[in-house]
Amino acid sequence: MIRITVVPGRLAGRVASLAGGWEVAAAPITAGDLGAALCASAQGDIVLFVASEARLPDRLANILVPHDGSPAPALALEAADQLAAGGRAEVVVLHVPGAEMPAEPGSLPAPRMVDHVAYDIPDWREEFGRRFFQRSPGLLRRLDVRVGAVPESILDAARALPADLIVLGWRGVVDQGRAVTLRTVCDSAPCPVLLVAWPGAEPRAPDVAAGATALYP
């Protein structure tokens, strides 16, 4: 059972129906108050945030999960999987290759070298699935890749699908200048955004010993 905190008011009932068996609790957060939503999320609650312009879906058909290719968003993917399993939705995992590479061991962002698009990309997709999708076989899942700035690409993908829900994993750090992608997406998302902070907020340095790290200039 995942406990979900939602902004109160007109959304609570709708979210409860979307979330299926989830325990839904209304929290004292004013609708559209992103700061309060982030604080609640950073403290470990799973928070549903709805921007003022967001469309409220009648059912969940497409759930969009942005994924940076690190093991960290596992909780977000798990939450999306639970929602999808309840409503027979498709989980669309979106990867936007960025300039920053996740530092966690086991990460698998899009390859930095593509010798042959016909082989390297399917191989990467297969390996991505084996690393991150393994826990819930049988679910309807798709891995999409978009080129461009990360927040805009997420919003573009959400509009194009169209997504009924974005499940956004984040590091839970609300300091000035952090969570820029999350703030941008939440502000302009065309659908509700489920915020899932993962424990261990800061990325760890790779566990491969210094000898290997030093191989790279």
Partner: protein, 758 residues
């Protein structure tokens, strides 16, 4: 669970150290620069490790999977040159997967022993480069609280390439583990038939690849009181052909010799290979380790005995690129073998010679003459490049490399000529090499078309920089085509002088006439060359300079995949280069272009290159090193080393990139070692990066082994037989067999002084 992967510089010592283990179980070397170690178990990285830890001998390659398997494993044993096709032939030839000959089912009584059951106390895998053996040490606390110990050692025998060997033992407080002996029958859509027969002493597998060859495995296991010895023997047969050797006989040979003797012979064979190829780097242990890792995988994939198969882009370490053979083999991998184990280079060229009928048919089908080798080749030399690909953003796009990337024919010719220059093997040139050189020259003669400007042009074409398709007059292609035409003419002249009757017979068989040779000369003379006379920069192709100029480093941290940063459409409108293209040309023909031309082009193209190909960093490293930019070269060397070894590349699960591995050898020997095999002499001009205090390596050249041992102020040269040698910018000198040394000063090397002769 211990989930850390640890490199050997940090590695704990193994329970039994050194080759002389007290209980006759082999043990890994102690020197951490001769081994790669992974401690713990990381489900995310397991498939990377399986590629790293593959054991191979040019005939078979076995991924370093756990003997008992795991949900995160992708175990496979590949048989070189055996490919099958799916029933609908949707994905072209795929490598056949043999039986999982390393499979064990360890049990303590009725209790399964597996990493995921209970708690890992210790788990380490050690790949011993020097001995060519993969070791595993494992202690597991079972849910019952009992603790088991297990160890294994496996290798693909280098002295007898039919053989594979596994040794294991396991106990729990004196109670032996049982391992079971049932090896699963392999399957898969490209396998037409698989069967096994259980005999008294062995199990025999017969595998028939769909529309492909056959593989035969015979496996014999003996198990006693927790100790297991297993031999597997392999044979293969081309489609419609007879098996190469008998696995049963190979198995009998191995059993007769026994495990200890087999291990010793294997170790000796590896010792010989290292003697002929090891590159010693002092002052930079990471570089040393990366080189040994690369050389281990290169040696593992060479087969000097047969032309049955060539070397796929991922060797025999993983399923990447479907085991297909690209120009990587000739332009990157072959030079390593040419100067360390020329018999392997010879077989690689013979493989291409064997596929000449398919290359001729391919040229014909496109309206050309001569031989156009397959861009992607498998067992029969027919092109198996996939016609379409799904881009990262799910768009079906045609793959044009198979249709337009024709420089493969010149690359094969280049390798053939390099073999001839290095060995001076006239018989090989007459019987094998000439036909390749002449038929590829003939291809270029027909491929180039005269334009309205009166010059010959090649279009549409793709050069090594695959970001730009359908271009006209790619510099790499044109220059190498011209070189190919000239070598075709030189071959004709050489043979007509050396063996007139042999030449006449060959020319008759190939239907070559004087008019053909005249045309080759005409095309070579008038093939378009776009080199700015003032800047000395070659334009990569017609109108390349008109494209949007970009600075790659400002777009994203390099290396990066241009498709994933700019998108495919914009990519083609910029000057962003995927990999060395003009620089590749200057790299491959180092004596043909003056230093100022190389420098000018390096300065122009390097900032515009994304290095979005594993083939790029190594070439930049060699070119930079030759230009004396040693620190910049070292940066590229590290980038190339990181392709498979660094966690951030995430590119190793589908196999080791053999070309990138070979480019490390090229950087060390041809770049920092400064060795250039010129027509009349071997030029040596070491330029070491600051952190490298010593660089030493052997170099095979014209039946001679030249040992170079350099630091930043002195170079020592050991000649096995007389040779013409030039140091730095000096003139060639005939040196007798013996040892020499030279000092570096005033920007150049002194004349070599004799230290010891004879």
């Amino acid at each position: 669970m211990n989930d850390k992967i640890r490199f050997p510089t940090q590695g704990a010592e193994s329970p039994a150290q050194g080759a002389e283990s007290p209980d006759a179980f082999p043990a890994p070397v102690q020197d951490v620069l001769w081994r790669l170690e992974a401690a713990g178990f990381d489900r995310f990285r397991e498939r990377d490790l399986e590629s790293w830890f593959a054991v191979a001998n040019g005939r078979t390659g076995t991924r370093g999977s756990l003997e008992e398997g795991s949900p995160d494993s992708n175990p496979a044993t590949y048989v070189a040159g055996i490919y099958g096709r799916r029933p609908d032939d949707s994905s072209g030839p795929e490598p056949l997967i043999g039986p999982q000959w390393t499979f064990l089912d360890p049990r303590l009584g009725d209790t399964e022993v597996r990493l995921e059951i209970g708690e890992i106390v210790e788990h380490r895998r050690v790949l011993d480069f020097r001995q060519g053996i993969l070791f595993r040490f494992w202690r597991q606390r079972l849910p019952s609280g009992q603790e088991i110990t297990f160890r294994s050692a496996r290798f693909a025998a280098l002295h007898d390439r039919q053989l594979l060997v596994l040794q294991a033992d396991g106990h729990c407080d004196g109670t032996p583990l049982a391992f079971g002996a049932d090896i699963p029958l392999p399957g898969g859509p490209s396998l037409e038939h698989a069967a096994f027969t259980r005999g008294r002493d062995q199990v025999d597998f017969e595998l028939v690849a769909r529309k492909g060859g056959r593989a035969f495995f015979s496996i014999s296991t003996s198990e006693s009181r927790g100790s297991l010895e297993r031999f597997a023997a392999v044979a293969r047969a081309a489609p419609g052909g007879q098996p190469e050797g008998s696995p049963t006989e190979a198995l009998a040979r191995a059993r007769k010799a026994g495990l200890t003797a087999t291990w010793e012979q294997h170790r000796q064979a590896w010792g010989e290979r290292w003697e002929a190829s090891d590159v010693v780097v002092e002052g930079d242990p990471d570089a040393q380790l990366a080189l040994r890792f690369a050389l281990y995988h290169l040696i593992s994939v060479g087969d000097p005995e047969t032309d049955f198969a060539s070397i796929g882009a991922r060797g025999l370490t993983g399923p990447g690129y479907n085991g297909h053979v690209f120009w990587d083999t000739e332009a990157f991998v072959l030079p390593f073998f040419l100067h360390t184990h020329p018999e392997v280079a010879r077989q690689l060229i013979r493989y291409r010679h064997r596929t000449l009928p398919a290359a001729r048919a391919r040229a014909r089908s496109l309206g050309y003459a001569g031989a156009l080798f397959a861009w992607e080749s498998a067992d029969d030399g027919r092109d198996c490049t996939p016609p379409f690909a799904l881009t990262p953003d799910h768009i079906v796009t045609p793959v044009l490399t198979g249709r337009e990337e024709h420089h493969i024919s010149a690359d094969v010719a280049w390798a053939t000529w390099r073999y001839w220059e290095t060995t001076r093997d006239e018989e090989f040139l007459l019987r094998v090499g000439a036909e390749i050189l002449l038929e590829t020259a003939r291809f270029w003669s027909s491929r180039a078309r005269r334009g309205a400007d009166g010059c010959f042009h090649i279009a549409p074409v793709i050069g090594p920089d695959e970001y730009h398709e359908g271009v006209r007059d790619n510099a790499y292609t044109n220059e190498l085509a011209r070189w190919n035409l000239e070598r075709g003419l030189e071959t004709a002249e050489l043979l007509s002088r050396a063996d007139s009757s042999g030449w006449k017979s060959l020319a008759r068989r190939l239907k070559l006439e004087e008019a053909d040779l005249a045309r080759w000369q005409l095309v070579a003379d008038q093939l378009t060359r776009r080199c700015d006379a003032d800047t000395k920069v070659y334009e990569q192709f017609e109108d390349y300079f008109e494209l949007e100029d970009v600075n790659a480093a400002e777009l994203a941290p390099r290396p990066f995949a241009g498709e994933l940063v700019l998108g495919r459409e914009r990519l083609q409108k910029t000057q962003l280069v995927k990999q060395a293209d003009v620089l590749m040309l200057l790299h491959m023909l180092p004596s043909a272009y003056p230093r100022d031309v190389v420098a000018a082009n390096y300065r122009y193209y390097e900032p515009r290159t994304s290095h979005g190909s594993s083939l790029s960093p190594g070439v930049h490293a060699v070119v930079a090193a030759r230009l004396g930019l040693a620190e910049e070269a070292l940066g590229y060397f590290r980038m190339a080393a990181a392709i498979d070894l660094d966690d951030r590349m995430r590119n190793a699960a589908f196999g080791i990139h053999m070309a990138a591995a070979a480019s490390l050898w090229q950087t060390a020997v041809l770049g920092f070692g400064g060795v250039t095999a010129e027509a009349d002499c071997l030029r040596i001009d070491p330029k070491l990066p600051t952190s490298w205090t010593r660089l030493a390596f052997p170099f095979w050249w014209r039946d001679n082994v030249i040992r170079v041992d350099a630091d930043r102020s002195e170079v020592r040269i050991d000649l096995r037989s007389p040779a013409d040698v030039a140091l730095g910018a000096g003139s060639p000198r005939r040196l007798a067999r013996g040892r020499y040394r030279a000092k570096f000063g005033n920007g150049n090397w002194s004349q070599p002084e004799e230290v010891e002769t004879g």
